[in-house]
Amino acid sequence: MPNRSQAGLVAYVNARLLDPASGLDAKGALLINGESIADVGPGLFQGGVPDGIAVVDCLGLCLAPGLVDMRVQLREPGEEHKETLKSAGEAAVAGGITSMVCLPNTDPVIDEVATVEFVARRARKNGLAKVYPYAAATKGLEGKELSEMGFLAEAGALAFTDGTRAIANAQVMRRALSYAATFGALIVQHPEEPSLASGVMNGGELATRLGLTGIPEQAEVIMLERDIRLVEMTGGRYHAAHVSTAAGLEIIAKAKARGLPVTCDTAPPYFALNELEVKDYRTFAKLSPPLRTETNRLAVVQALEDGTIDAIASDHAPQDADSKRQTFALAEFGGAGLETLLPVTLELVHNEHLSLLQALRLVTSGPAGVLGLKAGRLKVGAAADLVLFDPSRAWVVDPTQFRGKSKNSPFDGRPVQGMVVRTVVDGRTVYDRNA
């Protein structure tokens, strides 16, 4: 199976083509010319592939746009022992992700043009998944002074966020939304009122029994309520990350119904797991926001079905073993997510909540649309960023097999269905399971 012919033409034949943006779900073929898609469709190469074009037989598997992961924590620069741009890139392509958007909570923080360019340059050199940085909304993520959003946007910052910290001060948030809107830029919020979020797991009966301090659902709800008012006031574009509560989703649904420029995402743990994972003080289940009750999980699934949620992001938060081998109170928050994004998202299909196209939209054209990113489509002229996967192939999540550096998966040991077979970035095969 040659990867490329001399002419740079590669035909992917005998595929189930899936393009959520256009609604295409049909058997067909796709032609890559160099770095971009030259042709795609059900009728392509029906008479056979002409000589001089390399052929990849997809064996009837699904060929879709590469995944766009809009929330990834990269630890480079600063915490390379947890993850590097290279290890994250390898993990991403093994998970079928061809574009990832990274949070600015590195060390140093991505709040200057030089850091934006550093990350972009380093990632390009690796030639794995493409990396687009968010830049800090406030200098040093301190929630006080606005960052140079204009310069940062010009340098390639995709949107502005304080990462895992909420922009807590209402006046600062008001100005961030307002100032970002000057440049048409988006503010991405970690919606959690910090003064209510000093706990370590979801507040409720289980936290009470375990003797752990709780983070009430209201921490998320209150911040979303406030932010929506500020969006209304400023006209700024607002995206709420990893929404985890029924009441929070209701607020977003209402804001959308009123025509406000509001979008949101969630992450696999919030529709696939609930707070019971914390039982026995399992630190891999210590996430931010915390895993919620089953009622909230079902509400997240419902919001994925009805379109309130625009995207699913991995919320990849790699932590080294020592950061998790702690008592629950001391352990770091976060879970590794790049390599489980697709299979856990496909659970929504296997459980008949979403069609395959709907599920894929949430990890391709959905997030690309929110961020205005030219990615996540099977379209003539678009970059040839593709994932070939078997939607029903079963496997068990084993973090020791992860390509990423950190193994802190909340899905450790989970049986899943859906396996990435090949990932293509700019026409190049960057991951081949059978290689």
Partner: protein, 316 residues
Amino acid sequence: MTEPRYPHRHLLGIQGLGPLEITAILDLADGYVAQNRSDDKRKNLLHGCTVVNLFFENSTRTRTSFELAGKRLGADVINMQTSASSVAKGETLIDTAMTLNAMHLDVLVVRHPDSGAVKLLSTKVNCAVINGGDGSHEHPTQALLDALTIRRRKGRIEGLTVAICGDVLHSRVARSNIYLLNAMGARVRLIGPRTLMPTDIARMGVEVFHDMRKGLEDVDVVMMLRIQNERMSGNFIPSIREYFHFFGLDREKLTRAKPDAVIMHPGPMNRGVEIDSDVADDVERSLIREQVEMGVAVRMACLDLLTRNLANTGAV
């Protein structure tokens, strides 16, 4: 005497223990009360066994009680007081486990400021582990000694109404007692200001009162909890004097309880904060001194049972 049933390697909490297991421990402890009162206090049951008291929190009472219990049974008891305030305390915890394994202990008694820390340690060491109190989670030997104290005074636990008063939010003693009293068929009431009640605590099978006089109505046992000084700074309650006025146990509030109601406190007491000296020192009503005595007996019973299990599994 038939072999008491306690088919567990560790004692990490009361949650999960059934009434038969609890009764087995209490029955065994009853025997040790008699022995401790006799001239011949020492037994060589645990001769050659090593018990380590590993305390990451300051404690005099519990540590001394365990130490005495171990020594009365003839074990070699070593106290390790470790500061939990060092930066990498979690790492220390697992490193400590490795160190302890190399020392071939038989029983490890652990107190730690973080909930779940004792459970974590129990998965890393190859000896029996007794939870001497972990964060706000559990303090099982305290609940057992409270139960023994009640049973000896009242003759039973089933059917009694017990009020637990004070800082339930931060209290491991309250949680262990709730599990134990519910398992043994007592009715549990909690009394305290709303800021010191954990979320959804009623789901643990208790009745919650915010008016102490109403809460004490016709109760058989009043258990006071210690309130930590750092909670007094206006975060949870505005002042000591206001707290004492509404939630401190004094003679007047006590009149609401049954005439023969008894008073308990896990110690150390804050006199004039959660309890008035007048009632704390009332020899007719206060069982606080007995609690200390029962503590040693209960801990002897726990050491006895867990080391029997070690023998059964061939771990000794």
